[in-house]
Symmetry: C2
Subunit: 526 residues, 2 copies
């Protein structure tokens, strides 16, 4: 065994060892299979005490209400999620750092404060929030999928973590990521593969796959992911969760570890994944109202804007079923139709999406992601001697024989991006001409992914067509769970004529039986 393998094994063991013995379940995966489960949430439900299940089946808002009414203690809430996260990790391999003791100690402190003052310290008083392994917590590693970063403990806490902590949040785990966060699945030499929390035969997606899996298993109700090409949205979609990819500059990324730090043309953004839309809103509102722009120069000073008046208004949408490159699978088409029908039924107006620069947008993304030909990742791999993870090679365009591009070429990418964004803004404005009331669209409805996930070893069926454009165009996007794949309804479309080989490959990947029961989400892009 080489040195990096020893370090990686030690890391995995240390994660396992951080789980209290009474929560360890030997051969848990075998047991789950034998019990006939593929959904880790449902299986864990059979393992935990009912009072814990009652807690973890709530939303954050519901728990928050109970805690502030004195009906639940922070410690009980925290303990329930720690237990469940421990089980979820054993099933799905979704945590890279486990530090329950910190959260439980903090929970006890919060209970004391509440007992003394009768007040909670903030909307997240006693709520455990899971963190993608890019957020820094002093004294804990931030390895972002690299063996070479093991045992390098963070010194400074991420500003976002501090904001949430100030509002009462408890931190108890950090969740797995693929090497360098550069894949739509979660795999690294350090931690191996993270499985899907809804269907453990499937990939958890990525790069916030650890978050997606953990929340799907209800080992967390609310977690933070990051997104440079779909990394929040893909795991959320693959596991039927709500999520938000905010615009760049809306939520503080300060002191959050990252790849390609200083790469500002296609910036990674940070945002929540959750089991309810209200919890997404609560987190976002709390963070925005913290006025992080006073400390983080990259946060734009835009206060929280109440948009509740929109609930009563007639809205306008464009809907994109096919981007001209990759046709989506029948369950995704049906999910979109379902949303379109519901909206038109409620009096909203919907037209077809026809912004026709998606190919250029995708080409630009490829140029940006491959700009250094994988040099940075190679350098970090060299720290430990671990190999370049295969799954991330396509996205970063790894080529050991090519030098990084020059600054001039990089600026040209920046310029192209601006032009594409300008065209997109103009498209948005021009939609006004197509609506009866002469107003422009409120949002775009579109797929997140051509299929309802992909199987654990099928990373070569990945197509980031529907997520990446909104990173380049920098649009906020909400992930909305709509339905489940149903083999009885979602029959293969045998008449579809693929536009090219890749489209055909994705088209042929659809198997009603394999996908049966997989959640289907759509994006609502603003």
């Amino acid at each position: 065994m080489t040195n990096w393998e020893v370090i990686a094994r030690r890391k995995r063991e240390s994660v396992q060892n951080a789980i209290p013995e009474e929560w360890l379940v030997p051969d848990i995966n075998k047991r789950m299979t034998e019990a006939g489960y593929i959904n880790s949430k449902l299986y864990i439900d059979t393992l935990v005490p009912s009072q814990e299940k009652k807690i973890t089946d709530c939303t954050v808002l519901e728990l928050s209400a109970k805690i502030s009414a004195g009906q639940l203690s922070s410690w009980d809430v925290c303990n329930a999620f720690c237990h469940r996260a421990a089980l979820a990790h054993q099933l799905l391999n979704c945590c890279v750092e486990i530090f329950f003791y910190r959260a439980l100690d903090k929970a006890r402190e919060l209970d004391e404060i509440f007992a003394r003052t009768g007040k909670t310290v903030g909307p997240f008083h006693g709520i455990p929030i899971s963190l993608k392994d890019q957020l820094n917590i002093p004294g804990i590693d931030t390895t972002i999928g690299y063996v070479g970063y093991v045992d390098i403990q963070a010194k400074k806490q991420s500003l976002l973590a501090s904001i949430l902590e100030k509002n009462g949040a408890l931190f108890y785990v950090k969740t797995t990521v693929p090497m360098a966060m550069m894949a739509p699945e979660t795999v690294s030499n350090l931690m191996g593969v993270t499985l899907n929390g809804v269907n453990s035969r499937f990939s958890s997606g990525g790069s916030s796959g650890g978050e997606g899996a953990l929340i799907a298993a209800r080992g967390s109700l609310l977690g933070l992911g990051t997104d440079i090409g779909g990394s929040i949205r893909i795991p959320a979609a693959f596991q039927g969760l709500y999520a938000l990819r905010p615009s760049h500059g809306r939520i503080s990324y300060m002191d959050v570890a990252n790849s390609y730090v200083g790469q500002e043309v296609v910036p990674s953004v940070i945002g929540p994944l959750a089991t309810s839309l209200e919890d997404i809103e609560l987190l976002t509102k709390t963070v925005v109202e913290s006025e992080a722009w006073k400390l983080d120069p990259k946060v734009v000073p835009i206060p929280w804007r109440d948009m509740s008046h929109l609930r009563k208004e007639k809205l306008r949408f464009v809907c994109n079923v096919m981007d001209g490159m990759v046709m989506v699978h029948p369950p995704v088409t049906r999910a979109l139709s379902k949303v379109v029908n519901a909206l038109t039924g409620a009096g909203h107006e919907i037209i077809e999406y026809d912004f026709d620069h998606h190919k250029a947008v995708l080409n630009l993304a490829t140029k940006a992601f491959t700009a250094d030909q994988g040099k940075e990742i190679e350098e970090v791999c060299n720290l430990s001697g671990e190999p370049f993870v295969e799954a991330i090679k396509p996205l970063v365009g790894y080529d050991p024989n090519e030098p990084p591009i020059s600054v001039e070429e990089w600026w040209a990418i920046g310029e192209s991006k601006s032009h594409l964004r300008e065209k997109f803004f103009k498209y948005w404005q021009d939609t006004a001409k197509q609506f009866s009331d002469g107003k422009m669209i409120d949002a775009i409805l579109c797929p997140v992914w051509p299929s309802a996930g992909f199987k654990k070893d099928d990373g070569n069926y990945a197509a980031i067509n529907y997520t990446v454009p909104f990173n380049i165009l920098d649009c906020p996007s909400v992930i909305l769970p709509v339905t489940l794949s149903d083999k009885m309804i979602d029959l293969p479309n045998d008449t579809y004529v693929p536009v090219d080989d890749f489209d055909e490959k994705i088209h042929n990947y659809y198997d009603p039986n394999e996908f049966h029961g997989m959640p289907v989400c759509i994006q609502i892009v603003c």
Copy 2:
């Protein structure tokens, strides 16, 4: 004569030819000297009809009030400024495009609208606004200081120009810039040197030197400049004007020509120069209220914020007299003291500025500005065969034998910038500890330039120490005219011990007689 010289001469002649014959004054510079003037404003006052002088001595707000009261026609206002701009150009060489006829035609249209409706079309109804030669007006060249761009007419109008035009503004001239806008003085092979409007023995500064000179001569009351290292602030300071370098993303740069398009680490910003602070505010407010963010993806959607309540509040300032690298001249020290005394006298609190990373900030700026080793400029020079202008070599680090840096090195610059900004934001927050009321500072008071300008051929005495940091840190900065150099008061400081050779060189450059009468401005940085 080589080909590029022919093109450049033709361009200069065409500018001259765009001036109506009755406004041409042969040997105007000789006449001015013989008449004993160095200040072009004062000299032009002797050449124009008094009713024109009465117009050009107003502010925009005053003219606007008269126009909307029917006391002045747009055409009269426009004609007065065209005449004066024609004289200013003959004296100072400050215009690169003259198109009076368009403005006068438009003024007549506006007068008709006013006659018909009794209403103005916007706050700039009939007001001529001068444009730095980066703003695009369809059908007119945008040469940004290059011979190679002559006769390439702009197709699409800058969004900012359209916003102002919609509000009634008239466009009549575009003003000179140094090659590529990369010098704190205004010199190009295309147009030669632009002289200072207050003292024609001095440089107009740069890169918005054409604007500074034209407004100083009252050939314009309000113009648009750009600033990547001080290019708005330096000409404003050298000519005793008000100006604003807004934050990045506040005023639309869309479809404005530029060097290094796509270079987003130290972005150039666009902002106004004017003869009054109220006019700066009027322009900024009008532009912000146009909600350009709906069309320009780079504009942040922050509405205009009324800050008039600050007039009644006790404010806190830090004051920086010396950045540790280049000591300022006695007139600048006095200007700062004058402001500090006035503020403390009015009950405001002022402490010393001690953010000690200015050297790192300047080093970073140098790295960013020299990243492509002058390659882009070289390529554009090659279009016409013109030589690389000497004055811009230091700033862009021209080295024909060095390749541009790699994208990895560029990202490292981006990362350093972010860290410096974070430190600066923290510094700003921490000032709260030093004030009696525990609140943080409202603004920084500091010099714009070590001296009150420099003489026309003394570009080697340029020191951008005091302007560049606020480009890197991206702070809005207002230029405030405070006083004039006075040989009787501003005596040389013979006891000062320079910190190094460059500091000594700048220190020794002070000559009370040469600088006598030169305006002194300070920066107010937020």
